[in-house]
Symmetry: C2
Subunit: 220 residues, 2 copies
Amino acid sequence: MSDESEKNIDIFGVPEALLRRAPKYYKYVCKQTEAGSEYISSSELALALGLGAVQVRKDLALLSSVPGHSRVGFDAKLLKLDMERFLGYNNMNEAVLVGVGNMGAALLAHKGFVRCGLKIVAAFDVRKTIQGQIIDDKLVLPMSKMASLIDRLKIKLAIIAVPAPAAQSVCNKLVKAGIKGILNLSPTHIDVPNNVVLHDEDIAAALAILAQKVEDKKES
Amino acid sequence: MSDESEKNIDIFGVPEALLRRAPKYYKYVCKQTEAGSEYISSSELALALGLGAVQVRKDLALLSSVPGHSRVGFDAKLLKLDMERFLGYNNMNEAVLVGVGNMGAALLAHKGFVRCGLKIVAAFDVRKTIQGQIIDDKLVLPMSKMASLIDRLKIKLAIIAVPAPAAQSVCNKLVKAGIKGILNLSPTHIDVPNNVVLHDEDIAAALAILAQKVEDKKES
DNA sequence: ATAAAATAGAGAATATTTTATCGATAAATA
DNA sequence: TATTTATCGATAAAATATTCTCTATTTTAT
């Protein structure tokens, strides 16, 4: 019995690799539903994303709440909903942003967050010149307001978009204030305690790896 | 004999997972060398990045050109150089940027590229209002100049930072002009031919996954 | 109706990645 | 100098993830 129930509930056992593929599946499904497709087959997805058809089928088996129809594929709208559920785009999550430089300002104006169930509720910066400015309906606040706001609104997520030298100290303040998940966009290593999840996003590093893959491809 | 030589040369067989960890190793090593450390051990790296020590040793074995010293670790400066070589930060690569909105402008001003051996040599935008502006020493050009510039300078890499509806058409133009690697920052799926490498970078999606991990952690 | 084609799904076989265990080595310490 | 300790590197084992193969289903065409 325990085996059976585990098989259905199985909230764990989600392959890390699938978490990386899922947003791409989702974007493709969005595009196709917007274009009017009613059904999407695993082979179509595989072809579009350059993956093996079997792998896509396996992923969809984990993702989807209903089986696909033989010879037709999966109901596109339903699949989209399942992916949103799987990726947690339904749960509304609030985050704060620290560092309203070029990158930070770009994120404040970024429209992509809402689709993922995310909302940046406040932005902070040390520079007095930018404090008080309103960017995309969000007021830029001084750092002194940060801890109390995070605590009061029970925010768990933060984005660090400050210059490298300031990143660690900002991180420490965030952790102290109760932040549990940090997206680090500064191009430096930062230390976090074990109970905090850290994700580094480094666009330059990503482009460098891409460059290498292009090189490698030439040789093959 | 073929086995032996393959083992040494082995330019392939680089685990994809290592490519994701390597930039983090590199950033940590940078930070420590700047702080004055002469040696870095695999256990130190493991602790700092929250990885298993054995895995780090395996990674370093692939990364490093020299063996580490027993009881001391690896020469920090040398390790840094090896990582730069491994990640291709030595090869200078040029890229173009399309879309000088908030995000595009942030990238033009971004200082992190040089360290990775990258240089954005030109930026393009459809909007006349921004054409001719100089951002961080780079002139924003009209789209009509794009193809010829890419061809003339033999650029192979491009960053797409345009709104979602424009992404696919920009992509097609880039591919036609000879681009072989595309970093897509627009929050939509784009199709590329088989001979072009595509990497999607979606900050919102990354934050959403982070949010889920924070949730999961609470339960455990 | 029947055959053919395309697709889903399940289980086995591979390949990859991670983790565990061992002995060897060199620095630190008593 | 002997002992302890921290580290490396290699091999083996385990866990994960991917790919292969086969069967069943359902639509389309004959």
